[in-house]
Symmetry: C2
Subunit: 514 residues, 2 copies
Amino acid sequence: MNLKVKLIGLEVGGKSIVILNKDDADDLGVHSSGRVTLHYGKKTLTAIINSTEKMIPKGCMGVCEEVRLALGLKDNVEVQVDAAKFPNSLQFIKSKLEGRKLNYDEIFTIVNDVVQGNLDESEIASFVAALNSKGMNLDEAASLSVAMYKTGKQLDLGKKIIVDKHSIGGCAGDKTSLLLVPIIAAVGLTIPKSSSRAITSAAGTADRAEVLMPVELNIDEMRAVVEKTNGCIVWGGSLDLAPADDIFIKVEYPLSIDPLLLPSIMSKKKAVGATHLVIDIPTGRGTKIKTIGDADLLAKDFIELGKVLDIQTQCAVTYGEQPIGHCIGPALEAREALEIIMRKNNVLDVTDKVTNIAAILMRMAGKDVKQNFAMNVIKTGKAEEKLREIIGAQGGNPQVQPEDIKIGDYGLDFCSSDKGVVMWINNTSVIEIARAAGAPKDKGAGIVMYKKIGHTVTKGEKLFTVYAEKVGKLERVKQLMDENNVFGVGEHRDMLIHEVKEMKMPSKMFMLDR
Amino acid sequence: MNLKVKLIGLEVGGKSIVILNKDDADDLGVHSSGRVTLHYGKKTLTAIINSTEKMIPKGCMGVCEEVRLALGLKDNVEVQVDAAKFPNSLQFIKSKLEGRKLNYDEIFTIVNDVVQGNLDESEIASFVAALNSKGMNLDEAASLSVAMYKTGKQLDLGKKIIVDKHSIGGCAGDKTSLLLVPIIAAVGLTIPKSSSRAITSAAGTADRAEVLMPVELNIDEMRAVVEKTNGCIVWGGSLDLAPADDIFIKVEYPLSIDPLLLPSIMSKKKAVGATHLVIDIPTGRGTKIKTIGDADLLAKDFIELGKVLDIQTQCAVTYGEQPIGHCIGPALEAREALEIIMRKNNVLDVTDKVTNIAAILMRMAGKDVKQNFAMNVIKTGKAEEKLREIIGAQGGNPQVQPEDIKIGDYGLDFCSSDKGVVMWINNTSVIEIARAAGAPKDKGAGIVMYKKIGHTVTKGEKLFTVYAEKVGKLERVKQLMDENNVFGVGEHRDMLIHEVKEMKMPSKMFMLDR
């Protein structure tokens, strides 16, 4: 049938959606969530149907921005509309729901339909739920990784060895990449580091790096920086590497599930051409991986998947029982990293972690070195020099000093109500407080911690300060502080953690950031 | 923060959705699919977030019709917006994805959030996918049934015995309910029959009944009809019984999965107060349940679930290898049923099925009768009298005659290209052809079959006629006839069914109609 176009001026997240009057939909024999083929001039497009009884009159069709642009439609033009079949990928998603294994062609079809906007959220969510419930074998994980990077852009540097590092995240204050990239690039290895912004955490590497330099580079600009300096620290979001991932994340987020963790990470590494990769797995309560046993199992999965994808992969299981360094929040962390690389501040846990991982990467790339070699790259100032070179190449101020970095004007101190030793730090509360203060959006918001696990504390001694750019944000911080114990200070642990009564709602925090 | 309302004039299927500028969303620390609380005047509402970079400027909030109505908003008014937590039901959905069993409170919370518009499609789809992948035990099925009926309207007739019948569907031409309801009501039993329209089939009972009488009654009108006549045949969609089901169906449809089959059916029976229930399970190739073994397993599940819900349940496993009777399509089926009940036409398979099920229901309700007793209710004209009474009570013409029923003006005959015996009839093709001809939307569209399984056919003899209201629809019918074998006529079967080469896309038809 022919229907008259009504532009509704709505973007629907990359999907091709049309709204039909229920009467017309019945005439076509189609329903909401079904599909129609649109013919206009010489162009053809398959679109997802929403049907309505009121909004769109009979004989008309509501058209979202995506469809308008794809077909070049104007208000009131007539479009030929026919019932169409569901895309094949739905059959494959159903197979997975039933527990069948999917082959590469099937997985590629699904991922490509996700990227092309041919599947709606409920269909994508079913796929993610099926992966979560039924799991995937190594072949499927490899197929997903390949399909995800092949449906996006790729960086081809034409080098024999390209190293990369990724942290699965979950540990507050982890500014490792800001230091690792310049160290690695300074010794002549190529490290095209793309990183993410915070979703559920207080800062992502891209948020931290952005305090020092622009990070929203496109893939050509990224290539230019890497060719000039051997390294870069850019935001993955503007590179269009593995675009399916951003769509999958949107449905994973409300459900706090992440079955795509491995393929998502590996697809992005494949997309930048990494040949040697270290995966950092922070391990401890309050981070994603709670036990060393679980970390080792995950490490094995990464290494196996790396083999299939032809990326030599090692993992570093690292201590994640408390935040790393003293600072949490984009600006505070960038400042701490800059002070460390400038040898103005020696933060032992940060440098220990960075130099360990740097040495692993160097050894993987064929250099016979130990941790101390990486430490010397900092000590000799070569790392600082390289960081400033990268900052300049990405369009930042290469002369930037720690005191140039703006921290929130409003501070709030928290002191210990007990004396004793810091027994534990509640990482989840730390992140929640930093976010309540405005991080990651307000770059100057965050936390400076004066005490860490094992430190002795006197009653009334300052434990940490929360900074905010907007004074109003500190209200919520105060409230959170009343509701939560952030620091456990004492000489012994209470043995009862808490009581579980009927219908207790577990308040687990989920970290989607990868 | 305060945001200025921009009405977008869009209905979003009962959900509370607001569109935020990405910058404002970042400021609130929320993301697409997250939640915000809206305060306006004395009203408060939690809404699902969509975020956009372009469509809605910073400081404004796009508001769908559902939110506008709930809060009484106007364009440009200011609303206070705060970050909110995800609803608890997401935690329960996640539990199910992980394979945990859910208790009644958890299931009620999920179903209630579905009905209240607090969950978006991807979240609902994850729940349906989890049920499909992880299954549910009897307790969970019962909890779902109860939660689904308690979140909708209920019919309270105040009777001790209320009988009901339901077919799980899948068999074309099944006009059983049109005959069964008057037979049962004629013998003094109460049968408040609600039925569905076709989703994937050629006609639902509501579509067939609508040819004879109005079926879109509300629950008070339904009660009045039943109190007057002992029975009714109305569309369930206008009664608001178990409204969650319509929402679940929308996400089941593209994926061709139906984990909610049992709770969905039983919730609707519970909502009308049924005490005695027969479930018809048509069994055969081309219908939902292919083998008698599968049918018996399903029957057992229905009976067990009935016990928990305090509905005495029996099942009738019926022959579903071919369409029932000779007619397919709303008007053709209504006419066939009317002719049978008027004793103008004796269609053996139809009357055999109807009277068997009627006798089962009567025995369950305490009458010591056999199939013949039910047959006599037709033969004595009591069934016809009761049907006309119900038609009148529902607002139709009680004098309606078979020749009053309008069949499509355009007919297309199909003849056998072979001589022999009808070995099989492809039910899926039959449904597809009837739908292509315009059924169920065009009530006069459908198929009249002259031959059924076991009948002898000469070469060139007429097998069936396809009727359509619009001549253009017959083009697609011709094309389908060229692509499909509807009748298998021969003396023996070819042993090779078909070859399976790599990446063969199975073209299974799925029947969502319950």
